[in-house]
Structures are given as structure tokens and as C-alpha cells.
Amino acid sequence: MATETILGVFAHVDTTVRALEELRARGYHDLTVYTPIPVHEIEEVLERDRPVSRVRLFTLLGGLTGIASAFLITIWTSMVWGQVTGGKFLQLVPGGIIGSSLPPFFIIAFEMMVLFGGFATVIGMVVLGRLPRLKASASFDPRFTNDRFGVAVHCAPERAAAVHELLRTAGAEEVKSR
């Protein structure tokens, strides 16, 4: 069914928060809030019924992959053609590994963990944050990256008037339908 988007532009944090509280109270949950900076008060309102961001999962997996691949490559390469350097070597014999000198490989492992972890984190952010978006969303307004706050409410057309009213009373400088 068709939904309408009503955008309220605010100049102040407290007014924005008041609007959000109102909306939630009235049972409007399909909201998009635009802020130039992350604002605690606003987040508090929004985070109440949301799970923690899953980015950290990406990070964990990335890190583990890094460690694993590092140990894999270091140990495997010294197996396939292990040259003896400085009396140290890594050799597979029936009895197991002899002459092993593993400590240096931990350094590689650590670096690879950070590398993979880092990249995974960013990928996580991009994917979960629905980035990159190629064209601006309907309700976006350039001022939101400067000094204005925006609340976009997606609701059924028949309730639009009510939302208009609500946002204005909450203190929106300007309210428009998109």
C-alpha cells in the first residue's frame, strides 16, 4: 500500500527529541532521523527497541580469518620448502614437527588479524548502513549535514495530516510532504 513521507526540519535537539517521543507515543515506528552529528538524546529514543549493531560480528570473523590464514601460510610455506636459516627450521618428520621455530609467526598472525579485522569492520559498516547509496533519499535535505535536524515519518496517507500537526506543535521550523 502506498505510504506518504512527512519531513519535519528542526533547528534544535530538544524539539527534535520531543517530536520523536510524541511520534513513538502515537505508535509511529517507521521513522528516519537525520542529524549532522550523532546526538545522545536522539539515539536514546531510537535505540530503545533496537538490537546492538552487528558490525562487531564482522570484526570478530575478520580477525579470526586473519590469524588462521597467517599461521596457515607461515607454517605451510616452511613445510613445503623449509630452508634452514640460523640453525632454525621447521620440518615434518614421522615423529611430528622438529626444530620448529614458531615465535616469529605470531607477529605475522597479529598483523594479519588487525588487517582483516579492520577491513571486515568497514565492510560491515558499509553493508549494514546500506552504503553506498547512489542517489539521495527522497526525504533528505542538504541542511542536515550542516545545522538542521530532520525527522521523516513514513505513514499511511490518511494519517498525514495528524503527523503534520504533531511535528509542527513539537516545534519543527518547517514541515513538508515528500
Binding site: 533547528a11 528516519t32 537525520y34 539515539e43 562487531r56 610455506t77 613445503v80 636459516t85 616469529p104 559498516m125
Partner: protein, 446 residues
């Protein structure tokens, strides 16, 4: 706004002031660029000569098979530490004063590491085979030697460069979005692309903050690891004066020390020319000053440890090496270092010094000189008087050496000067976070 001390700036002011830094530069800027470009040309000329005629063009010899290249390499890696330290560690510690400088510091980090990254290539006798160091599958079944500190370097530095870059870019995204919305024409299109369509929607912020935190958490140990690994290039070797367990913390501290000095060397002029006194305030300078002072004192302590251990070791060769450094051909370099790194920072005990840009600037320059000489003193004199008396010798820098070392600074400044004119050298978002958010009822504000 000439004086930002009276009334705190509003969000709009922040955007305006930061965007102002991106306005077309003046003649001074272009003059600077010309000097830099000239030096850079010399740098590439010297390098080409060295590749064509051989490493002999540089002043290396037996026993100093390493000299000014590795010195400068370590120097730049060190510089590259302050940025990520400020942006990651101080972020985790919620040190709010970092916000005004961290963007410039991060840029500095990346450019410093890029500069440093040139040196292993410049230094290699056959740089056209440098790719042998990468673990790539090849028909020879040959792999790099993962026991070699140089391979650790390859991993540590490439990781450091990529992670810091990622961190940097992530930090930039919302600001670029702001640029996009403030600019027009082709600039706008480019910024739009870089901004990845950032809108500051709640959903974006939510993952953004989390990711940023995690990156900071990853970067923090990385910062400490990288310079430790670099220090192991020396600590893992036998050379008297290198073979020391002290080196990892010693190098990390030195790196932070020199890093902050460089931040000031770059930050103070920016503050002056871009009139950013509202954002880089005296309390910031003061904090930086304190950090330099502390790291400087720690460094002094390490110097003492170094001397003590080699005296206490009872190792004839260790002692001989130490006495030679302190008294013989290279003594001047050693004492320069002691003065710049141990004595000069002491003035920062006074608050007036810490808040006076001029004093800070002078001290920072001295510290940078001192730290370059620290690396020089670790490498050249130690090698010059090591185990085998037959080959003891003195290293004389050749024109090629000098040109390349100077050129590396040109390379760095070229990148940095370019940066400050295309990207916000102050973080718009984080600066806004530090100033009170706009409220209608002031009573109810923070």
C-alpha cells in the same frame, strides 16, 4: 572569526570556518609548493641515478651497510605514530581535546607512512626484485622467510598503512557529505562520490559509531606493534648497541614523542593561517605540550637504561661500542640527540611555555632533529664500531644520500599541503560534538 574565545561557535559557524580552509590558496602556498616540487625533482633524480649506477652512489660501505636511508625510514615511521595514537587511543579514552587536531594528525600519519614506505625500496640494492618479499604463489615454490624481521616489517607497515587509511576515510565520510552539500559543480560530483551517499540518517550513524569504535580498538594495539616490529629490525640483530630487549618500548615512546612534535609543527601554522584559534585552543596546546614533556622524560629514562645495561653487562665489546659512540667520531651526533630529546623539552614544565606557540614550535623542531639523530646514532655508529676491528670505519653521506633524505621531506609536505586544500583538516562532525548542541530552552541544555 578572529577570536573564538568570547562566544562558542554554532554548528553553522563550524561548517563555515572549516569550509573556509578549502578556499583557493594564496601565493605563499604556491611558493611553498614550488620549493617542495623542486626538492622532489631532485629526490627522483638522485634515486634514478642510484638505480642506474648502483647503491655505491649512496655513501654506504662496509661496515655501515645501512645508514641514512634506514635512519630516515625509521624516523618517518615514528612520525606516523602520533596520528593513529591521537585518533584511536585518545578516542577510546574519550579525550575530547583530541577532536580539533586528530584529522590533521591522521593525514600526517598516512603521509608519513607512505614516505617511510619509499625507503625500503630506495634502500634495496635491486629494488626491481623487491616483490620477492611478498608471499605470492610462484612457479619456483619460493616463499619469503617469515623469520626475517624485514618480512615482519612488510606485514606490519602495510597493515598499518591500510588500517590507518581505512580509519581515516571512515572518519572523513560524514564531513565529505557536508562538503558535498556545501559545494557545487564538479567538486560536488566528486564529493558526492566520496561521501558514499552519506545522509546522517539514524541507521547510518548507528553502525558508523560502532564501526568507528571497533576500528579504534584494533588500531590501538597496532600502533604499539608497528614500531616494536621496526625496532626488532635492530633488536633481532647481533650488532652491539642493537641487540637489546629494550628496543620495542624505547622505539614506541620515541615515535609518539616525535609524532606529537610533528603534529605541532604542522598544526601551529594551520592554526595561524586558517585562524582556527576557536578550535585549536590553548588547552589543546597545553595538553600536547604535556604529552611531549612526558614522552621526552620517558625517553631520557630509556637512554639511561641503555647506557646502564651496556656498562652493567660486563661485555667488553658492548662497552667498547658505547665508549666509542660517546667519545669518538660520532660523539657530536650523540650529544646533539641528548640535548634535543632530553634537555630541550624540559622548558615545557612551565605552563607559559606550553601555551606559547613560538616556544612549542621551537621545541618541536628541536625534538624532530633530535629524533632523527637518535635513529642515526643507533644505526651508523653502532655498525661503525662493532665486533670486528678490521672493518671499523666512518660513513660519509654522499650527495645522493642527502638529496634523497631531504627529498623525502618534500614528498611528505607535497602530500600534506595538497591534502589541506581538498579535505577538511578539521573534523566538522567531531568539532560540532564538542560544542553545545542547539537547544531552544537553554535551561534544559547541557
Amino acid at each position: 572569526m578572529s577570536d573564538g574565545h568570547s562566544t562558542p561557535p554554532t554548528f553553522a559557524d563550524v561548517n563555515r570556518d572549516v569550509l573556509r580552509t578549502l578556499e583557493p590558496p594564496g601565493n605563499l602556498y604556491f611558493a611553498w609548493m614550488c620549493v617542495v616540487a623542486l626538492l622532489l625533482a631532485g629526490f627522483f633524480f638522485a634515486w634514478a641515478g642510484q638505480v642506474w649506477w648502483g647503491m655505491g652512489m649512496a655513501g654506504k660501505r662496509v661496515p655501515q651497510m645501512w645508514a641514512m636511508y634506514i635512519t630516515t625510514f625509521v624516523f618517518w615511521i615514528g612520525i606516523g605514530h602520533a596520528g593513529t595514537l591521537i585518533s584511536a587511543i585518545l578516542y577510546l579514552f574519550r579525550a575530547r581535546w583530541r577532536t580539533s587536531i586528530y584529522r590533521a594528525a591522521e593525514a600526517m600519519t598516512i603521509f608519513a607512512v607512505m614516505t617511510a614506505g619509499l625507503f625500503p625500496l630506495i634502500h634495496a640494492g635491486r629494488m626491481w626484485f623487491a616483490y620477492f618479499l611478498l608471499p605470492y604463489p610462484n612457479q619456483r615454490y619460493l616463499w619469503p622467510n617469515f623469520r626475517s624481521p624485514l618480512v615482519w616489517d612488510v606485514f606490519a607497515i602495510s597493515t598499518y598503512l591500510s588500517v590507518s587509511t581505512v580509519f581515516f576515510i571512515v572518519g572523513l565520510v560524514p564531513d565529505i557529505a557536508a562538503l558535498r552539500d556545501a559545494s557545487t559543480g564538479w567538486r560536488r560530483r566528486i564529493y558526492a562520490m566520496l561521501a558514499l551517499g552519506w545522509e546522517g540518517a539514524d541507521n547510518q550513524w548507528r553502525h558508523y559509531r560502532r564501526a568507528y569504535g571497533l576500528l579504534a580498538a584494533l588500531a590501538t594495539p597496532l600502533v604499539l606493534s608497528v614500531h616494536s616490529v621496526v625496532s626488532w629490525d635492530f633488536a633481532m640483530a647481533l650488532v652491539p648497541g642493537w641487540h637489546s630487549t629494550l628496543f620495542a618500548p624505547f622505539f614506541v615512546d620515541g615515535a609518539i614523542f616525535s609524532g606529537f612534535a610533528m603534529v605541532l609543527v604542522l598544526g601551529l601554522p594551520m592554526r595561524h593561517f586558517f585562524k582556527l584559534h576557536a578550535y585549536i585552543q590553548e588547552k589543546h596546546l597545553d595538553a600536547m605540550g604535556k604529552l611531549i614533556l612526558v614522552t621526552g622524560l620517558v625517553l631520557t629514562y630509556f637512554y639511561l637504561c641503555e647506557i646502564f645495561t651496556s656498562l652493567y653487562s660486563g661485555e667488553h665489546i658492548e662497552k667498547a661500542s658505547l665508549f666509542w659512540k660517546v667519545t669518538q667520531n660520532y660523539a657530536w651526533a650523540l650529544w646533539t640527540m641528548y640535548f634535543c630529546n632530553c634537555v630541550a623539552p624540559l622548558v615545557l614544565f612551565s605552563r607559559r611555555a606550553r601555551t606559547s606557540p613560538v616556544v612549542l614550535y621551537v621545541v618541536s623542531i628541536l625534538v624532530l632533529i633530535g629524533m632523527w639523530f637518535e635513529r642515526f646514532n643507533i644505526i651508523v655508529p653502532s655498525l661503525g664500531h662493532d665486533f670486528y676491528p678490521y672493518t671499523w670505519g666512518i660513513y660519509y653521506p654522499s650527495p645522493t644520500d642527502t638529496m634523497i633524505v631531504i627529498g623525502s621531506f618534500a614528498f611528505f609536505f607535497l602530500l600534506f599541503l595538497g591534502f589541506i586544500k581538498v579535505m577538511p583538516s578539521l573534523s566538522i562532525v567531531e568539532v560540532k560534538e564538542t560544542i553545545p548542541a542547539p537547544m531552544r530552552e537553554k535551561a534544559h541544555g547541557h
